[in-house]
């Protein structure tokens, strides 16, 4: 029994090598996959370079300020003119799945002013390029590998049938199931081999640390391919002609990879409306600029409720003092606190909803899981924004003693200023739940395929 299987497998392999079109196609997928790896790594390398330039820019700014304020200066002036950066470093994994790193800024320029007016500043992006999307390994695996699987296997049995060879084949002492198994095994080995090879190249190229994430990535990739083979199995079991199979498989690809995500996007937009971010920036501006027109005592008392430790007894009589200025900047942020929470919660809930709906399409599931593993999706960006908010708090905490105790800011103090760094974290939990969902989908399609093969005996003509 086993030996027939091996013979069949060997002949399938010869068939495959003889089919120039298929070899060409497989070669093309390898080239395209390598390009995806190249693009992903160069893109992340470019982002890393940009991030590496920021300390120089910050240093330049300090030099400029030292020249502008040669002696001890008012910390208020420094806080106003001094710019620092909150930076979001990618993990090594980011090169494999760039996710939303191209639309969400990976660095934020901060001054001591109100945070909400600064944190949403977007990076320079070419919208045409962003519309086309990233050509990374995740795209190749999620989008193109199903197509490769379809191209390799849409005529799995139907070709033999159409050429009349299936009758001859089954006239031999061979079980029909063995024929299907041998044909499927060769294609499985080929596709999984390619997917694992490309993944291995990418993992080595990106120099990812060897931990459980490697296993998860490979498991996700293998399961995703297995899912598509399961779909092929179902269509094969229907025993229709090649043209029908091609149409049905491309139809399945279209529905799962294109239509369902498109429809879900519309659905998520409609059912989970996010309060527009612009609303909060408008309100924050109104609050901040209203600060100039309100009595100074009122502003300061509101501020001291939040920061009793800086309560001083002196009433501000001057036309302008920095501590009052920064107090109403901060009160502007405080006034929109509920709006900010609603905005970020809305975004997070959108993500959660998508995660739930990922049951409907393994493609969405794979994409969500791979970007979660790479730390390049929305939750990571929200975590970065939170970290930038904490950095802004730290900056204020650093400057407040100078402002409220009226301590002069000297050249040595620049060094003491807090700095910020944030590196994406892989969301193992999201990836694991994706893995689980994918496993269920795989079992489901394979079960359906096997049952269909069982109940419909193979018809050789």
């Amino acid at each position: 029994m086993m030996s027939t299987f091996w013979i069949l497998l060997k002949y399938e392999w010869r068939h495959f090598r003889a089919a120039k079109g298929l070899v060409l196609l497989t070669g093309l997928v390898v080239v395209v996959g390598l390009y995806g790896i190249y693009y992903g790594t160069t893109e992340i390398e470019r982002q890393r370079q940009h991030l590496a330039e920021l300390p120089a820019l910050a240093h330049h700014n300090v030099e400029e300020l030292k020249k502008k304020f040669p002696g001890p200066a008012d910390a208020g002036d420094i806080g106003y003119y001094h710019t620092t950066f909150a930076v979001h470093h990618p993990t090594e994994w980011a090169s494999l799945a760039l996710g939303q790193r191209d639309v969400n800024p990976y660095c934020v320029k901060l001054r001591l002013l109100g945070l909400q007016g600064q944190i949403y500043a977007s990076e320079n992006v070419n919208p045409t390029k962003v519309l086309s999307g990233n050509f990374d390994l995740a795209f190749v695996l999620v989008y193109l590998f199903p197509l490769l699987i379809i191209a390799l296997s849409f005529n799995l049995l139907s070709q033999e049938k159409e050429q009349g060879t299936l009758v001859l084949l089954l006239a031999q002492p061979v079980r029909p199931g063995t024929v299907v198994a041998a044909k499927l095994t060769l294609r499985l080995l080929l596709v999984l081999g390619l997917a694992l090879l490309l993944s291995a190249v990418a993992l080595a190229w990106a120099q990812v640390p060897f931990d459980e994430r490697v296993g998860m990535w490979l498991a996700l990739v293998v399961l995703y391919c297995l899912f598509w083979f399961g779909v092929v199995g179902i269509i094969t079991a229907l025993q229709r002609n090649s043209a029908f199979n091609a149409v049905a498989l491309v139809g399945a690809w279209l529905v799962l990879v294109v239509l369902i995500p498109g429809l879900l996007n519309v659905y998520v937009d409609a059912t989970q409306p996010v309060p527009q971010g612009m609303e909060l920036t408008i309100k924050q501006r109104e609050e901040i600029h209203g600060g100039w027109d309100k009595p100074k005592g009122e502003t300061m008392n509101r501020f001291f409720v939040l920061y009793p430790q800086w309560r001083d007894t002196t009433t501000i009589k001057e036309r302008f003092v920095w501590r009052w200025y920064y107090a109403f900047q901060h009160l502007g942020d405080e006034s929109v606190r509920p709006l900010v929470a609603a905005y970020t919660n809305g975004l997070r809930q959108r993500f959660v909803l998508v995660e739930h709906l990922a049951w409907l399409s393994p493609a969405i599931n794979a994409q969500v899981s791979l970007t979660a593993l790479a730390g390049t999706d929305l939750p990571t960006h929200l975590a970065f924004q939170q970290s930038a908010t904490r950095y802004h708090d730290a900056l204020r905490a650093f400057y407040y003693p100078y402002l409220f105790r009226k301590v002069a800011f000297t050249h040595a103090d620049y060094e003491k200023e807090p700095t910020h760094t944030f590196t994406s974290i892989s969301e193992i939990g999201t990836a694991a739940s994706g893995l689980w969902k994918l496993l269920v989908s795989v079992v489901a399609v394979w079960a359906i395929g096997l049952v269909l093969l069982r109940i419909r005996p193979l018809n050789p003509c």
């Binding site: 500043a121 390029k129 109104e286 027109d293």
Partner: protein, 472 residues
Amino acid sequence: MIRSIAQKELVSTLRDRRFVVLSVLMLGLLLAATLVGRASYRTLQRERQVAQQTVNDQFHHQPNRHPHRVAHYGSFAFRPKAGLSFLDAGLDSFTGTAVFLEAHQQNSVNFSQAQQASSLIRFGELTVAFVLQLLVPLLIIFLCFNAFAEEREAGTLKLLLSQGVSLRRVAWGKITGYGQAVALVVVPALALAAWLLLAQESFANSPDAWMRLALFGLSYVVYFFLWIVGAVVVSARQQHARTALVVLLGCWMLGGIILPKATANLGANLFPAITKAQLDAKVHEEAQKGINGHDPQDQRSAALKANLLKKYKVDSEEKLPVSVGGLVMAESEAYTSKVYQQHFAALTRTYERQNALTVWAGLLNPYQAIRPLSMGLAGSDFAHYVHFQQAAETYRYQLVQRLNGLQASMGYGDKERKLDAATWQAIPIFTYEAPPLGWALGYLLVPVLALLLWVVGLSWLGLRAIDKTSIV
């Protein structure tokens, strides 16, 4: 003869259950996409109008303030959606919606929908343009892949040719028939779009919008024609229907998915753009060479003051009829804006270079010709976006300079005084006029040319190839 072949194809297509199911599905999708696009257009448009109205009202109802305070208070510009963007959202989801306009500083356009969406948006948005550009060609492929193979296998092709009809005429007949079938799917959707446009008062009387819609429809007619001719030619050249199908699907994937992404990514790799941090630093660096409005120790400010004293023939700043501070601000704004404009123009040029690769790829790939054409006609392409950015910057500059002028006219000691609240109501608000069709077409020459070349080339070469095909 062509007509009767066409009629036969149409009738047999309509009898084919698979095709009818597929067509009804496609038509449903098109209608749904039109309605969804329209609903989202209205929501976004209303949100932006309300937001713009809010900031305008806030601006006009400011208390007594010093003009430079008002310049820092600034305003917002919200990018209105273009009239036809409900058919093709183009870049709209990837470009920001709001830009804060303030003194001394040019801000980025923030809050793009892509930032507020999950990774779902990366699978593509379900818009009318998406259905027309990618899904209808698939329908065409399924419709036409066995145009010849079937007749060949059934032996009817020989019969047909024995009656003295040339292969080329048969092909034309089939192309006409399939064209009619596709029209049955697409025309109702475009009619719905036109009807929706008519229902919208602001566009009902706008010849520009109607011309855009007409050209939009026309370019898709050309695009579908291309696909039908291509599919029929492939079907005639391939011995078997299944190979024709695989070849056509391969072309669809290469042209619709792989190439557009690859060229866009390659463009970004070949022509790297400057980051925002770098751009800001450069602008700041060069702006230092000009006058600095907020630095009283600035030597150039002193020179300006000396000149003013000479001009008005007075010996002290107190006696000047104008405020030195206001004039210094105006001068500084003029200089920094000039510097910024230069850098912004350079950045835009870099993006245009990146995009040029994608647009020129239209010569190889009709999808990359129809996409920019469709976006351009719908008013949602890069050129329209840059137009908005520039309009917002122009308004910002005029607003700030007007406020600087007000400050200058307050005379010496302006800092201690405020202007009346009524002053702000006299300042015009930001209004955005989308550019006309003629302007948009100027950016669409390459895609139009590419599409025309494809039509001529494919009809000529393809049908010549059909002539040479063996009939058995």
